[in-house]
Symmetry: D2
Subunit: 163 residues, 4 copies
């Protein structure tokens, strides 16, 4: 079975709720998923999964310092995450409020780790965005993203995709 670690940082609970939406959708795709709070996650955990999805609120156009701290500390494993599939999601107060740049701040860090990332052509392109508390729109985004992420991960791990 293919495995994914979802790490979120949250204050309001919105980003945790998105993490759970994504986890549910990935499990529906027969992925083994673990969900963790960033504050209780050591970089060691990142080694044990085929895919890693990081979620953060949008703070000043980038991920929260608490999530960046996890990424900065992951330097001790630089090179060892290479080839894993990475993804990102964010909850944001506003449209045009930095949600895209937050997703890209996470995806860029993953590329620097040598990871693989994937976009979505028919939904939030860089990862699911919730404007405010996750609503039906956000749930749909999580579902579409989970499907694309799961399919890509299965292909990378040599599993057959049956539509």
């Amino acid at each position: 079975m293919v495995s994914v670690l979802i790490v979120y940082y949250t204050k309001s609970g919105n980003t945790r709720e998105m993490a759970n939406m994504l986890a549910g959708a990935l499990r529906g795709e027969k992925i083994d998923v673990e969900v963790r709070d960033a504050l209780e996650t050591s970089p060691d955990y990142l080694l044990d999964y085929d895919g890693i999805i990081l979620g953060s609120p949008t703070y000043y156009g980038g991920m929260a310092a608490e999530m960046k701290d996890l990424i900065d500390r992951s330097v001790k494993y630089h090179g060892e995450l290479s080839g894993k599939l990475g993804g990102a999601f964010t909850s944001s107060a506003y449209i045009g409020g930095g949600n895209e740049t937050t997703l890209l701040s996470i995806l860029k860090a993953m590329l620097i780790h040598g990871m693989v990332v994937v976009g979505v052509h028919n939904a939030d392109h860089f990862g699911p965005v919730s404007i405010g508390a996750p609503d039906e729109r956000a749930e749909k985004q999580c579902r579409i993203y989970a499907r694309k992420f799961a399919d890509t991960l299965k292909i990378l791990k040599g599993f057959d995709i049956v539509d």
Copy 2:
């Protein structure tokens, strides 16, 4: 055999030279490669390859308008490039002169197409950069990138990687 299309736009010839370096390195990895000038490339070509690598000089922090025009016209195939592997390279006049943002302008467009992109942990992270005319440093970057791109593409297409 796995296939890659490399499209470049060039004025000085530097970006074309990088395209040829990449093509040589990819062929060394047993990839079927075609190299094309952006001015002679219709979006139709993008459909026929497993991987697509786009190269542009660094102009005002982004790809040249001529390359962006190819991407804008590719909207007629929106969704059909989904799942293909994408890559980018650039030649730039200066360090800190916009080369990273140029690579990212290409990679972001690929993510919006639903494509897969991959970073490199031990060389230019977002794709090979040449500062001025391609030198030994740039050639080494192209070689490392081609290797990572080829390995990732073979995995995506279900080929065995033998080290």
Copy 3:
């Protein structure tokens, strides 16, 4: 009187409509404004104004090739735009669809020209965004942005701001 050039590129008419909203709001701030279509704008025009605002639809996470072409051709005046105030706006089909990265693709080009740019703390931070056809939300964004842009430009040009 302080002068601003607004250049837009449009296919659907949405970005032109935003250009006109911005022009109206700037004129309300006693700014001398000219609005031009990018297809009829030579880089020469950029020299004659204190401020320059460029608007483009969101195409694959960046400005349209037609707008990038204007910027690329402006290289003949590299250095001569230094110190002018720059701004950006975009119309986009979707939330999370690349509107922020489009605005930043314009602002980064302006910074490379040595220009000054300004953000907004209480509205679309990098410039006004319209999701679909400009509605009341977009008009409000244009109004708030125009006010901040006008105030900053007047300060840069040594005019008194009277609240």
Copy 4:
């Protein structure tokens, strides 16, 4: 007299050295400068200066978590930094290693605060970059940037610029 706060985060000492280079160059422009370590800087300090320049090493394509933490905590003054001039600098291990995206991660946060930022047309465009320990090239970058930053700040504060 016009005042600037420079805040740096450093592990190797490289970013601190750049902070001191910038401070020296700004003082040569008759600016009142204070230099602080991010670990000893509360967001309260940001209120008291006309200009703010933040410097961080390049960590995974963005500023260090310690600097992001300062920015995240500055939310308590959201709106009160509006109109101040902001700048950024970084030290990076490699060319193409994320230095541009690090500078932009800082500048984007400043724009979201409603601040003003300025680019340089004839040197590192988004702010000074040092590749490895600051050398003559980095010192020159700091000097050119300090001059542009000082001139722009004096104009914003209503001082005459005498060349």
